[in-house]
C-alpha cells in the first residue's frame, strides 16, 4: 500500500509540474484570445443604434438572421471558392517543390528552406503592395507584354489578381508541412515498390502520396483557413469589390458601423472553419 501511495504522489507531482509549465501560455491565451472571442460572440446578439453605436441591451437575433440572407451567402460562397482554388493551386505548385527539396542533400535542403522563408522577412502588406505594382497596368508585366507587341496587362482588381496574391502569400504554409512529411519518408519503401514492379508513377501513387497525406492535410488546412478569411489581399489586389469575407466583415465594422452583424459574421466564419477542419482531419486520418 505504501508503494502504491508513493506512486500516486509521484504522478500527482508530475501532473502539477506539467500544469505549471503550461500556465503562462494558458493565461495569455485566455486573456487575449478567449475573452475577446467571447466579447465578439456577445456583441453578435446586441443592438445597433441609429447612430451606429452598439447598445448592449435589447438582446436579439437580428444580426444572425441577416447572416443567413442572400447577400452574405454570396460572399460566403465566393470566398469559399476562392479559398478552395488557392488551396488547390498551392498544393499543385508546392508538392513537386517540397518533393524536390526533400530529396536534396541535407546541406542543399537547409538552403532551399531558408529561401522559402525569405518572404517572411518582409511585411506581408508591403509584399502585397509590391504585387499590386507588379500586376498593375503600369507594372513590369504590362511593360513586357507591350514590348512584345501585346495588350497592357489588366489583372489588377480582378479575381485573378486576388488568387495570384493569395497563392503567393500562402505557398510557404503548404510547402513546409509537405516538406516535413516527405522528409520523414522512408525512401526504402519507394525502392521496395520499384522492386515490386511498380513504375515511377505507380510507386508515387501507391506509396509516396498516401504516406505524405499528413503533410497534404496539414498544408491544406494551413492555407485554406487564412485564405477563407483573408483581408489584405482581396482589399489591395481586388479593390474590395466584389467583397470577400475578410473585407466584408471589415466593411461592417468600419464603414457600415454595424458591429452586431460584423460579429455574427465573424463567429459564423469561425464555426465554418472549425467544422471544415474537423471534417478534413477526420478524412485525412482515415486515409493514413
Amino acid at each position: 500500500m505504501v508503494m502504491a501511495d508513493l506512486e500516486a504522489r509521484a504522478e500527482r507531482a508530475a501532473s502539477r509540474r506539467g500544469f505549471l509549465i503550461g500556465l503562462p501560455a494558458y493565461v495569455y491565451l485566455i486573456l487575449f484570445f478567449a475573452i475577446p472571442l467571447l466579447i465578439v460572440a456577445v456583441y453578435s446578439f446586441a443592438t445597433r443604434t441609429s447612430t451606429g453605436a452598439t447598445a448592449l441591451s435589447d438582446w436579439n437575433l437580428d444580426a444572425w438572421a441577416r447572416v443567413f440572407s442572400a447577400a452574405p451567402a454570396r460572399v460566403f460562397v465566393r470566398s469559399f471558392l476562392l479559398a478552395a482554388a488557392t488551396t488547390v493551386l498551392c498544393l499543385v505548385f508546392s508538392y513537386p517543390f517540397a518533393y524536390w527539396i526533400a530529396t536534396r542533400s541535407p546541406k542543399v535542403r537547409s538552403l532551399l528552406l531558408v529561401l522559402v522563408m525569405i518572404p517572411f522577412w518582409s511585411n506581408f502588406l508591403v509584399r502585397t503592395y509590391a504585387m499590386k505594382f507588379l500586376l498593375g497596368s503600369e507594372g513590369p508585366l504590362s511593360i513586357i507584354s507591350q514590348l512584345l507587341g501585346g495588350e497592357p496587362v489588366r489583372l489588377l482588381f480582378t479575381v485573378w489578381a486576388v488568387l495570384i496574391g493569395l497563392v503567393y502569400g500562402y505557398m510557404p504554409f503548404m510547402i513546409l508541412p509537405l516538406y516535413a512529411a516527405l522528409e520523414r519518408m522512408d525512401w526504402s519503401l519507394v525502392e521496395a515498390a520499384r522492386d515490386l514492379y511498380a513504375g515511377g508513377w505507380d510507386a508515387f501513387r501507391k506509396v509516396t502520396l498516401p504516406l505524405s497525406m499528413p503533410g497534404v492535410v496539414a498544408g491544406s488546412v494551413l492555407v485554406f483557413i487564412p485564405a477563407l478569411g483573408a483581408y489584405v489581399v482581396p482589399a489591395i489586389l481586388g479593390g474590395g469589390s466584389p467583397p470577400y469575407l475578410g473585407d466584408y466583415i471589415v466593411l461592417q465594422f468600419l464603414t457600415a458601423r454595424n458591429w452586431p452583424f460584423g460579429s455574427a459574421l465573424s463567429v459564423s466564419v469561425m464555426l465554418i472553419m472549425l467544422i471544415a477542419t474537423i471534417f478534413y482531419f477526420r478524412r485525412g486520418g482515415r486515409t493514413l
Binding site: 522512408d186 525502392e191 520499384r194 522492386d195 515490386l196 511498380a198 515511377g200 505507380d202 501507391k206 493514413l288
Partner: protein, 355 residues
C-alpha cells in the same frame, strides 16, 4: 535459361571520390545460395543494390540470366529484394503488401488471391492477412517481407541482412527456415550479411568483401579452412597469425625454430602463417604426439572457460602466445595456468596468407 543467374564483370561503383565497389568479377549459378560477407562499408550492399537496379555501375558489365542489365530500372529486372528494414508498406495490410508485386504486374485477381494465399501459408501468416505491419512481431514482419518477394517467383532473390533486426534465438531458427525454403523453391539467393556464422551455415558459396574488393570466393569450408588473405582469415572465426620467413621448403619463426611448411614465396621473404585455435592440440611434455605433427613446447599463460570448450593462451617463445581451443569432453585433459605443455598440429592445417 541461358548463362549464369548473375554475372558481374569488372563492376565498379564510385560515389564521387569514394570507390565503393572496385572491379568485381563474380559468377553466381542458378539455384545457388550465395552470401556476400564483409564488415559494414565493404561494398556488399552496394553490390546488391546494383544487381537490384537501385544503383548503376560506374564501369563494368552486369548480367542477369545472360542479359545485360544496363540502365534497366528495378521494376523491369527479374529479381526481388528483401530489405534490411523489411520496408513493408505501413499503410497496407499484410495481404496487400504481398499482393503488391502481382497487382503491379496486372495479374488477374483470382491468380493474385491464389498465389498470395499460398505464399502466406508457406510462411504461416495466413491468419494475419488483414493485420497491418505495425501489429506484427519482428519475426512475422521478416516473414511478410520474404513472402512479398517470393510470391513473384523471381529468378534471383536478393536479401540485405534480412535477419539483422531479430534477436539471437529467432535469428537462428530463421536461418534454418530460410535455407529450407531456398532448397524447396530452388530460387537463386544472394544474401548480404556481416555475420560470419550466418554465411557459413546457410551458403553454398561465400564471397568475402573488404574495402570494395572481393577478396575470396569459395565454399564455406574453403573460406574457413583455406583463407588466402589475412583479412579473410581474421574476419571469419578466431585465428592465430605467426610471422615467419620462407627458408627453402620450410619456414623459420622469430624464435629460430624451423617448421616443415612449404610456401611458394621466395626464400627470405616474410610470410604469415594462419592457424585455427581448434586445430591446435595440447599434450603433456612426455606424451607422444600424432605422426607428422608439428610441435612447439610452451607454457599455459591463460585459460578461458566457454562452457563447451576451454581457450588456452600458450607461450611458445614467440611475440604473441598461441591460442588453442580444446573441447570440454571427459577424454580431453584440462591444463592449469603455468603448466608446461606441447602445442601440436597437422602442418596441412597451416595456411600461408598474404597481407
Amino acid at each position: 535459361m541461358s548463362g549464369a543467374a548473375v554475372e558481374l564483370a569488372g563492376v565498379t561503383k564510385r560515389f564521387g571520390e569514394v570507390t565503393a565497389v572496385d572491379a568485381i568479377d563474380l559468377t553466381i549459378g542458378h539455384g545457388e545460395f550465395f552470401s556476400l560477407l564483409g564488415p559494414s562499408g565493404c561494398g556488399k550492399t552496394t553490390t546488391l543494390r546494383m544487381i537490384a537496379g537501385f544503383e548503376h555501375p560506374t564501369e563494368g558489365s552486369l548480367r542477369i540470366n545472360g542479359e545485360e542489365m544496363g540502365l534497366l530500372p528495378p521494376n523491369r529486372r527479374p529479381v526481388n529484394t528483401v530489405f534490411q528494414s523489411y520496408a513493408l508498406f505501413p499503410h497496407m495490410t499484410v495481404y496487400d503488401n504481398v499482393a503488391f508485386g502481382l497487382q503491379m504486374r496486372k495479374l488477374g485477381s483470382n491468380e493474385v488471391a491464389q498465389r498470395v494465399e499460398r505464399v502466406l501459408d508457406q510462411v504461416q501468416l495466413r491468419q494475419r492477412a488483414d493485420a497491418r505491419p505495425s501489429q506484427l512481431s519482428g519475426g512475422q514482419r521478416q516473414r511478410v517481407a520474404l513472402a512479398r518477394a517470393l510470391v513473384n517467383e523471381p529468378e534471383v532473390l536478393l536479401l540485405d541482412e534480412p535477419l539483422g533486426a531479430l534477436d539471437l534465438k529467432l535469428r537462428q531458427s530463421m536461418q534454418v527456415e530460410l535455407k529450407d525454403l531456398q532448397e524447396r523453391v530452388g530460387i537463386t539467393f544472394i544474401y548480404v550479411t556481416h555475420d560470419q556464422e550466418e554465411a557459413l551455415t546457410m551458403s553454398d558459396r561465400i564471397g568475402v568483401m573488404d574495402a570494395g574488393n572481393l577478396l575470396q570466393v569459395g565454399t564455406p569450408e574453403e573460406i574457413y579452412e583455406r583463407p588466402t588473405s589475412r583479412f579473410v582469415a581474421s574476419f571469419i572465426g578466431d585465428i592465430n597469425f605467426i610471422d615467419a620467413v620462407a627458408a627453402g621448403g620450410s619456414v623459420r619463426l622469430a624464435s629460430g625454430v624451423e617448421l616443415p611448411i612449404s610456401t611458394d614465396q621466395p626464400d627470405g621473404s616474410e610470410v604469415t602463417l594462419a592457424l585455427r585455435p581448434e586445430r591446435l592440440e595440447l599434450f603433456d611434455l612426455d606424451e607422444p604426439i600424432p605422426d607428422g605433427h608439428i610441435r612447439l613446447n610452451g607454457k599455459v599463460s591463460r585459460r578461458m572457460y566457454y562452457g563447451d570448450s576451454y581457450f588456452y593462451d600458450v607461450d611458445v617463445g614467440l611475440p604473441e602466445p598461441l591460442e588453442a581451443r580444446e573441447e570440454n569432453r571427459p577424454d580431453v585433459e584440462v591444463y592449469e595456468v603455468g603448466e608446461e605443455a606441447i602445442v601440436a598440429w597437422d602442418p596441412a592445417a597451416t595456411n600461408v596468407v598474404t597481407d
